[in-house]
């Protein structure tokens, strides 16, 4: 189900990422002020944009889950937020490296963009513990969706608030004030596409793996039920922050085989 088109997506991700790297190092001109150091921009900014968009997407999937009660939307929301957190870690590390090279400090506390991103990241860092704290899968999914919607709404608000603040030290890339030369803009857009494709591919891999695992669990339950050793052979699912949606949904809709 989720594995459909995964190969084509993986190949296009690798191709676009390779093209982006070639453009970054051999096509985009050196920036006048920062020189070679500015090349970090092509990985740091797309990572930040994709991570923030992933958080918002997680919120949108959560809205769908609350509306339809379909556990697949909860799974999508979970995977989007999980992946955005990983991209968030990469954003913070690459940003720190850039800050060290550019400003001489690993972290600057009076820079609104940095601190606001850290706040968003820390907010979402509580998502998994929240899920883990609730044992009942249905309640876990519902609470997690409410969290994802609230936090997802906070992301653009936070972005606007930072933009409206006066202390502009952090370079602005997108918007009316953007004055990137065309070669740099093209390189940036290809990098952004590459990172977005990477995000999508990894999300798809994660969804496929979770779906396959759930199918296997459901299959094992069926086999155990048939053998009459359900309790002895199939251990109960360990407490987890990850949604257990597909296993439940699958067993609910799997027709009983005659004669079992």
């Amino acid at each position: 189900m989720y594995g459909k088109g995964l190969r084509a997506l993986s190949i296009s991700t690798v191709a676009v990422m390779a093209l982006a790297l070639a453009l970054v190092f051999f096509y985009a001109p050196l920036e006048a002020e920062q020189g070679f150091l500015q090349k970090i921009f092509y990985v740091h900014v797309p990572l930040a944009i994709v991570a923030l968009c992933g958080f918002v997407a997680g919120g949108l999937f959560a809205i769908q889950h609350l509306r339809t009660r379909d556990p697949r939307w909860d799974m999508r929301s979970y995977v989007a937020i999980h992946m955005s957190l990983i991209f968030g870690v990469a954003t913070l590390i690459t940003g720190s490296i850039w800050a060290k090279g550019s400003w001489g400090h690993w972290w600057v506390w009076d820079e609104p963009t940095l601190v606001s991103f850290l706040i968003v990241f820390l907010l979402y860092a509580t998502y998994q513990p929240l899920r883990f704290a609730i044992e009942d899968p249905e309640r876990q999914a519902r609470y997690a969706s409410v969290f994802a919607v609230t936090a997802g709404a906070f992301v653009p608000l936070n972005f606007i608030a930072v933009r409206a603040s006066t202390a502009y030290v952090h370079p602005r890339v997108l918007g009316a004030t953007s004055n990137l030369p065309s070669q740099m803009a093209l390189t940036f857009l290809v990098s952004l596409l590459g990172i977005a494709l990477l995000f999508t591919t990894l999300c798809k891999y994660e969804l496929t793996a979770k779906h396959t695992r759930a199918q296997l669990r459901a299959l094992r339950r069926l086999a155990d039920r048939r053998a009459g050793t359900a309790v002895a052979v199939a251990p109960a699912r360990a407490r987890s922050a990850a949604p257990s949606v597909h296993a439940t949904a699958m067993t609910a809709h799997t027709p009983e085989r005659p004669g079992i």
Binding site: Q34, I40, A90, T94
Partner: protein, 76 residues
């Protein structure tokens, strides 16, 4: 054949900033690599579980067929 066009590419200005740029890109690729490694471990576990399930099913099937053969022979 490949070396000729590569030789014509401009040299990267890897001065003071080189180490920072290299570190930033290595971080991204390291994260992706770690993720792929985790996925590989997961898929190996899946494969193992599938193997166990298959063995379990085969054992059950052979047991069932043995029992039915025994029943038929006692009937005859």
């Amino acid at each position: 054949m490949v070396a000729a066009p590569l030789g014509e590419l401009p040299a990267l200005p890897l001065h003071e900033a080189g180490k920072y740029v290299a570190a930033a890109y290595i971080v991204l690729f390291a994260l992706v690599l770690v993720y792929v490694a985790i996925m590989a471990i997961r898929s190996r576990r899946l494969e193992r579980d599938l193997g166990e399930l298959l063995a379990h099913e085969q054992a059950t099937a052979s047991q069932e067929s043995g029992e039915s053969q025994q029943r038929e022979s006692t009937l005859v």
